[in-house]
Symmetry: C2
Subunit: 199 residues, 2 copies
DNA sequence: CGCCGCGTTGAGCCACGTCAACATAGGTGG
DNA sequence: CCACCTATGTTGACGTGGCTCAACGCGGCG
């Protein structure tokens, strides 16, 4: 649960911050803390809304998505972020760089598409939800081989709004059906078979 | 399912378009069609992603939210939009107006908050989801009286990922408990009782 | 009037949640 | 190295919340 910085630079000198790598399960930032906005270069990020009543899954960010953009307005993060796949993050639009309208619009459009994806992962039967999540992760792999890092069950359960047991059963079925080809155990790499004409 | 324009102006002369009013259940725009971006001044908008396999609920927009921003990039709408409460829309950021970075950032931050709201409406027990949707609608009423226009059951069902029957039962229960005070029938106005310390 | 769309209510059933037991991998200390 | 512990994942048995199906009420409209 610790963050690793690619540069040995001090954490708070924002402009010098470079690439940031976070292992699976790793904490990226806490809600309410100060920091900058990041673009996800690799991996998958889970966002959580933190309330007095507890914290709940509140969004997903994949390659190309921007997280923490609200810090440019308010200085603080609105959500908590953690890595559900090995992540690489790069600083995005630090204050000195001009805010390009087009870049922002693209980010906005991407955020809305991602939000629609996240909603879709909470509809339909359990097996289809879990399969949909794996396919989504595979679609955003940087390698073309559709190899994904399986998130922890608790994260998949939160995203799909299922229980860990149900997700585990769905994953077993995916493997049994050969849709998901195990390469090593635990958070190991998996290979998703051809996507069957999903629009 | 028809749109009504406040001005008698021709539909395709974008810069002259002014306020647009859409009745409940009304069609706002179709996915793939051309048009401009709008800001929701009043009411609630349901977004749908349209695929060859059918169209599915893909997002919610309430007062202050912007819909169709992607037209500024691609010229066409990515989603379909329809009114689930009597709506007033105003044009947003037409091409001639400079794209203000801060305005865009605020829109982005709002979109992410809304996406988190929409996800939350698909978690928990049926009654709590329906109650949550009513509370959300009440929170964004322009009058301070927390009077809401009840969307059609099919829309509430799509948003919460429940069936119409289950939503109907939940609504009956809300009325029986006095949480929702009927003022007239059908899409009539309702009054939501005090929000019980929901964070 | 008859028809249709929408909402309401009941009865039965099943997919998924709950609970429990166990497997496996890592970590830590001896 | 093993003994032990904990976190995570897997699998089975069982109960239930919400889905399915069906019937009906009501208002609007041709």
């Amino acid at each position: 649960m610790q963050t690793t910085l690619a540069t040995p630079a001090p954490v708070n000198t924002l402009p010098t911050m470079q690439l940031r790598k976070i292992p699976i399960g790793g904490h990226i930032y806490a809600a309410g803390s100060e920091g900058i906005a990041w673009r996800v270069r690799r991996g998958a990020v889970r966002l959580d809304r933190v309330t007095p009543a507890g914290s709940h899954y509140a969004g997903l960010a994949l390659r190309g998505d921007v997280i923490g953009a609200e810090t440019l307005l308010y200085g603080k993060y609105s959500f908590a972020a953690s890595a559900i796949g090995d992540c690489e993050l790069e600083p995005w639009l630090t204050a000195d760089k001009a805010l390009s309208g087009e870049s922002l619009l693209k980010t906005l459009a991407a955020a809305e598409r991602r939000a629609a994806d996240a909603l879709a992962l909470r509809a339909g039967e359990a097996f289809e939800r879990v399969r949909g999540l794996c396919l989504l992760l595979a679609r955003y792999c940087d390698d073309g081989r559709r190899e994904i890092t399986i998130p922890e069950l608790r994260d998949m359960a939160a995203i799909t709004n299922l229980t860990e047991e149900t997700v585990s059963r769905a994953m077993s079925r995916l493997r049994r059906l050969g849709i998901l080809q195990r390469q090593d155990r635990r958070h190991g790499l998996m290979l998703v078979a051809a996507e069957p004409a999903v629009a």
